[in-house]
């Protein structure tokens, strides 16, 4: 019986000693740390944290800095809002924090300039190697045989930090979700063929664009894709705002000049010009008249 008690005592004292040792060490360390932190205090602008909170914190690198923190530091240290632009950021709030004037930036969105769906551009070969566009692009012109079009392997999807771009399983083409896309350019940088264009979102997200990126001559381009731009120039002739240029057998609509009248859409013989976010047909007529009247 005695034996057990003494053992118990021993156990208690051990715990007490241990707790005391750890506790005292901790307190001594805390005191040292306190003084050290006072002596070696790094003064950091508190605005960096505030600015960082206004950034998306996806660390996509689209702005050219290593991450959102680096961009926030750059803005605060240079005291300049133009040092980098992040379309996903709350620019007005940053301007408020920095007490600077925000330059209005048009909201941007990424647009896939290829409409080579499985039906429009049937596959001529079958690719079953590593599923990355970067590699497929070095190997061959693509399953659809168009050397300019989308390869459909989804490098843009894996580059997007905002979950805004997905490959449509039916068409094998990427689809951009307007609501989620911030126009950070990560997908455009990942695309080895420059199929993706970053452009202004436009009024109500309405936009007209040439969904083709093929520089081949019309007859050649049409061979592998039914909706290829053949560079005929009909759209450029019909455009009242001179927004369309033809270069290297390919039409390009300047989104800054385009007023979204959609005359070119009806004119295009191969259906290469697509529109987005327009209300259904009936409302179209009304808007068209308006535009014409303006012109």
């Amino acid at each position: 019986m005695r034996c057990i008690i003494s053992r118990r005592n021993m156990a208690t004292t051990t715990i007490i000693y241990a707790a005391l040792t750890v506790g005292v060490t901790g307190m001594v360390a805390a005191v040292i740390l306190y003084f050290v932190s006072k002596v070696f205090y790094v003064e950091e602008d508190p605005r960096i944290d505030l600015v960082q909170d206004c950034l998306p914190n996806a660390n996509c690198g689209g702005c050219g800095f290593a991450g959102c923190r680096a961009m926030a530091e750059a803005i605060v240290t240079t005291n300049d809002l133009n040092v980098a632009y992040c379309p996903g950021s709350d620019l007005e709030k940053i301007a408020e924090i920095m007490s600077l004037n925000a330059v209005a930036h048009e909201p941007q969105v990424s647009v896939v300039r290829c409409n080579g769906t499985c039906e429009n551009a049937p596959a001529r070969s079958f690719y079953d190697s590593a599923l990355t566009c970067a590699f497929a692009n070095t190997l061959f012109a693509g399953e659809k045989a168009c050397p300019y079009g989308c390869l459909g392997c989804g490098d843009c999807v894996s580059a997007c930090q905002f979950d805004a771009i997905k490959i449509d399983p039916a068409t094998h083409l990427p689809v951009v979700d307007d609501g989620l896309c911030v126009g950070c350019k990560a997908c455009a940088n990942a695309c080895p063929r420059n199929v993706i264009e970053i452009r202004d979102k436009g009024k109500n997200g309405r936009r007209v664009f040439v969904a083709c990126h093929n520089n081949e001559k019309g007859a050649v381009a049409k061979k592998h894709c039914a909706v290829a731009c053949i560079g005929c120039g009909k759209c450029a002739r019909v455009c009242p705002f001179e927004a369309i240029t033809i270069d290297n057998s390919l039409a390009y609509i300047d989104y800054k000049k385009c007023k979204a009248c959609r005359k070119c859409v009806d004119e295009c013989p191969s259906g290469a010009i697509l529109t987005a976010n327009f209300p259904p047909k009936k409302a179209v007529v009304v808007e068209k008249e308006e535009v014409v009247a303006e012109a």
Partner: protein, 470 residues
């Protein structure tokens, strides 16, 4: 010229095998795999393919920048006339493969489906340039005496390495003052399965190859040449050994059958035991390596003034009946479909490969044209051509054990997957010779080489950008 009578002095196969068995063989030490040889076309004599009605000649038939076209629409050209001029350092001249009228100077899609600058020639007859000797006589006295003259001629005649990479040959011989070549290695390993053109060239043009090597010896300044040849070509070995008796500077070295024996660095290791430093060229260890068919091309260029206007191509594959496996001598610019149709495309063909099953490329655009160094067209059957589903990596280490460069392919694959380019670089991704042994051996069917190629392209870009900055 084209109707050369094939001088069949082939030795009996059994005799040759016995002969080769008695010889000492060498090989490289690290890694390597043993794919089935499948040399179906080994004993098929080279046939001359009919001239095409229209030849399309790419300006990018070699490593480096494209040649600049020097003819225009409507020009009449003769066979062997210069049509594409090399204007940068890593580039090779291109000559008209057929006589006729230039119909277009434009772009044409090559086997990858991409557009390449090309010259379209409509054939009329077969008229050769006057300066070219088209007779079959073997000229033994070397016509050009000095090193400079020979290199200039090789450059002028557009000779490129015909082993597959098509590197302009003259650059290999232009040594810096501090570089010295003490052994010329002639690559006749032909370690890729199916391909048999080197074998046929040796058997049918052995003497010419030897003279070509003698010329290359003058150009390189090396005292001796060693021909490395894998032991699966007994007849060729016996012929080389017997012919080499008359050429004291040339040695024949049989090699064990192992892939990638024909890779430059591995061949040097096998024959001389020297290791080429990382990122270095063979000349760093005093070697120049050239393919045996290139030697024949050098012979033609120097002795006959004949440029490369034709290519030797093996048409073979498992989906093709064995009697249809052939070796062709065809003009550059012949439509690939013509060649394929000449043997007939079997129904079960799933893939057609240009240039060997291990390193070659699947042809995605059949409406392309032959080019320099297109050493084979292989018909793969459906079963062979489909990839098996990739499974997770087992960490079995097989890829490490077969890598002839001593790399860790599974790590390089992972680093590329994770975009850890700095790690990929420190693990030596740039030393990969892309032989494909890792993908071949992987029990999980992982596309290791594919990913390494992605990583290599990316890391190469980073290294170049860094060099520019500095």
């Amino acid at each position: 010229m084209e109707n050369e009578n094939i001088i069949e002095i082939e030795h009996k196969l059994e005799d040759s095998i016995k002969f080769v068995k008695g010889m000492k063989r060498k090989t490289f030490s690290m890694g390597g795999v043993h794919p089935d040889g499948n040399k179906f076309a080994h004993s098929a004599p080279v046939e001359t393919f009919p001239l095409p009605d229209e030849a399309v000649v790419y300006m990018t038939q070699h490593l480096g920048s494209p040649a600049t076209p020097v003819v225009k629409k409507g020009d009449k050209v003769k066979v062997g006339q210069l049509i594409g001029k090399a204007e940068s350092f890593v580039c090779a001249n291109i000559h008209a493969p057929v006589s006729g009228v230039v119909t277009k100077v434009d772009t044409a899609r090559d086997i990858t489906g991409y557009h390449r600058p090309a010259i379209f020639i409509k054939r009329e007859g077969d008229e050769w340039d006057e300066s070219i000797d088209t007779s079959l006589d073997i000229i033994r006295d070397i016509k050009l005496k000095t090193k400079e003259e020979i290199i200039e001629r090789i450059k002028d005649r557009g000779v490129v390495g015909l082993g597959g990479a098509c590197f302009p040959t003259h650059i290999k011989y232009m040594l810096k003052p501090d570089q010295k070549c003490d052994v010329l290695i002639v690559n006749a390993a032909e370690c890729e399965p199916y391909i048999s053109t080197d074998n046929r060239v040796i058997i049918e043009r052995c003497e010419q190859c030897m003279i070509g090597i003698e010329i290359a010896l003058i150009a390189s300044g090396a005292p001796k040449a060693i021909i490395g040849i894998e032991a699966n070509k007994p007849q060729a070995i016996k012929m080389l050994v017997e012919t080499a008796k008359r050429y004291p500077n040339i040695e024949v070295q049989p090699l064990n059958i192992k892939y990638p024996q024909g890779a430059e660095k591995q061949l040097i290791k096998a024959i001389t035991g020297r290791s080429v430093p990382n990122g270095g060229l063979p000349i760093a260890v005093g070697c120049i390596v050239n393919n045996i068919t290139t030697m024949y091309a050098i012979y033609l260029a120097v002795q006959k003034n004949k440029p490369i206007v034709q290519t030797y191509t093996t048409v073979s594959g498992r989906s093709l009946p064995e009697e249809q496996c052939k070796n062709y001598r065809l003009r550059i610019g012949t439509p690939i479909l013509d060649v394929l149709n000449s043997v007939g495309i079997p129904d079960d063909t799933g893939k057609i490969i240009s240039g060997g099953p291990m390193m070659g490329k699947a042809i995605s655009n059949l409406e392309a044209y032959t080019a320099k160094g297109m050493s084979s067209l292989l018909f793969m059957n459906d079963e062979e051509s489909a990839r098996k589903e990739a499974q997770p990596c087992l960490r079995c280490g097989k890829c490490v054990s077969v890598c002839p460069m001593g790399l860790e392919p599974y790590m390089l694959h992972t680093f590329t997957d994770l975009k850890r380019w700095d790690d990929a670089e420190s693990y030596g991704i740039m030393n990969c010779i892309e032989c494909g042994s890792c993908s071949f051996i992987c029990p999980s069917n992982r596309p290791i080489l594919d990913m390494i190629r992605v990583g290599k392209a990316k890391v190469g870009g980073i290294i170049r950008a860094r060099a520019v900055k500095q």
